[in-house]
C-alpha cells in the first residue's frame, strides 16, 4: 500500500532563510505527488503537483519541489521564507492516472517562522 512519510514534525526557520521540507513516499508505480498547505483553522490549499515530465516543479507563493525517483522523495523548497509561510505543510500521493483518486497524506510538518 502506498504511504507518505514526513520525517520532520516541526521546523523553525528565521524569516529570509531558506527552507526544505522533506517527503518520502512508498508506491510501486509512478506516483502522482502533491504538496498542500494548511493555515490554522483553514482547509488545504494546493501549492504544487507532479505528474510527469520535468522533475523540478514550480508552485505558488515561490515554492518548488523536486521529484527524485531514486530516493523516493519529493522535497519542498523555498529560497527565502516569509512570516506568512508559517503553517502546516502536507505531502500527498495519488496512486492513479487520475487526480481524482483518493490522496494519501503524510502527517504534516508544522513550520514556524521567527524574526
Amino acid at each position: 500500500a502506498q504511504s507518505v512519510t514526513q520525517p520532520d514534525i516541526h521546523i523553525t526557520v528565521s524569516e529570509g532563510a531558506s527552507l526544505e521540507l522533506r517527503c518520502n513516499y512508498s508506491y510501486g508505480a509512478t506516483p502522482y505527488l502533491f504538496w498542500y498547505v494548511q493555515s490554522p483553522g483553514q482547509g488545504l490549499q494546493l501549492l504544487l503537483k507532479y505528474f510527469s515530465g520535468d522533475t523540478l516543479v514550480q508552485g505558488i507563493k515561490g515554492f518548488e519541489a523536486e521529484f527524485k525517483r531514486s530516493q523516493s522523495s519529493f522535497n519542498l523548497r523555498k529560497p527565502s521564507v516569509h512570516w506568512s509561510d508559517a503553517a502546516e505543510y502536507f505531502c500527498a500521493v495519488g496512486p492513479s492516472l487520475s487526480g481524482n483518486t483518493p490522496l494519501v497524506f503524510g502527517k504534516g510538518t508544522r513550520l514556524s517562522v521567527i524574526a
Binding site: L44, G99, P102, F105
Partner: protein, 114 residues
C-alpha cells in the same frame, strides 16, 4: 467563482448522536471526496461520490455514510457518534473526466464529540 464551501463551520455533539455535514463543490466540478483529519494528523480518505453513487471508500465503518445530490453537492452523515469521531472533516471537489485534475478542498467542519 465560488470555491468549495462547507457547513456548518463548527459543530458540537454528544456521544451516540447523529450528525450531517454539507459540502458544495467548486463550480463545474462533479466529484466530491470526504476526508477526516484528526488533531495532529494528515487527512484520511472516507469516501468519494460521483453521479450520486459512492465510487470509492476508505477504511471507515458503516456509521459513516454519504449522499450526493443532482446538483453535485454532498452530505456526510455519521451515526452513533464516538469521542474518536472528533476531527476536522474536509470536503474536496474535482472533475472526474479531466485527467490529472486536482482536488480542491473546502475550509472544513470542526466536529467535537463530548
Amino acid at each position: 467563482d465560488a470555491g468549495v464551501t462547507q457547513s456548518p463551520t463548527h459543530l458540537i455533539k454528544t456521544r451516540g448522536q447523529q450528525v450531517t455535514l454539507r459540502c458544495s463543490p467548486k463550480s463545474g466540478h462533479d466529484t466530491v471526496s470526504w476526508y477526516q483529519q484528526a488533531l495532529g494528523q494528515g487527512p484520511q480518505f472516507i469516501f468519494q461520490y460521483y453521479e450520486e453513487e459512492e465510487r470509492q471508500r476508505g477504511n471507515f465503518p458503516d456509521r459513516f455514510s454519504g449522499h450526493q445530490f443532482p446538483n453535485y453537492s454532498s452530505e456526510l452523515n455519521v451515526n452513533a457518534l464516538l469521542l474518536g469521531d472528533s476531527a476536522l472533516y474536509l470536503c474536496a471537489s474535482s472533475l472526474l473526466q479531466l485527467l490529472h485534475d486536482t482536488q480542491y478542498f473546502g475550509p472544513g467542519t470542526r466536529l467535537t464529540v463530548l
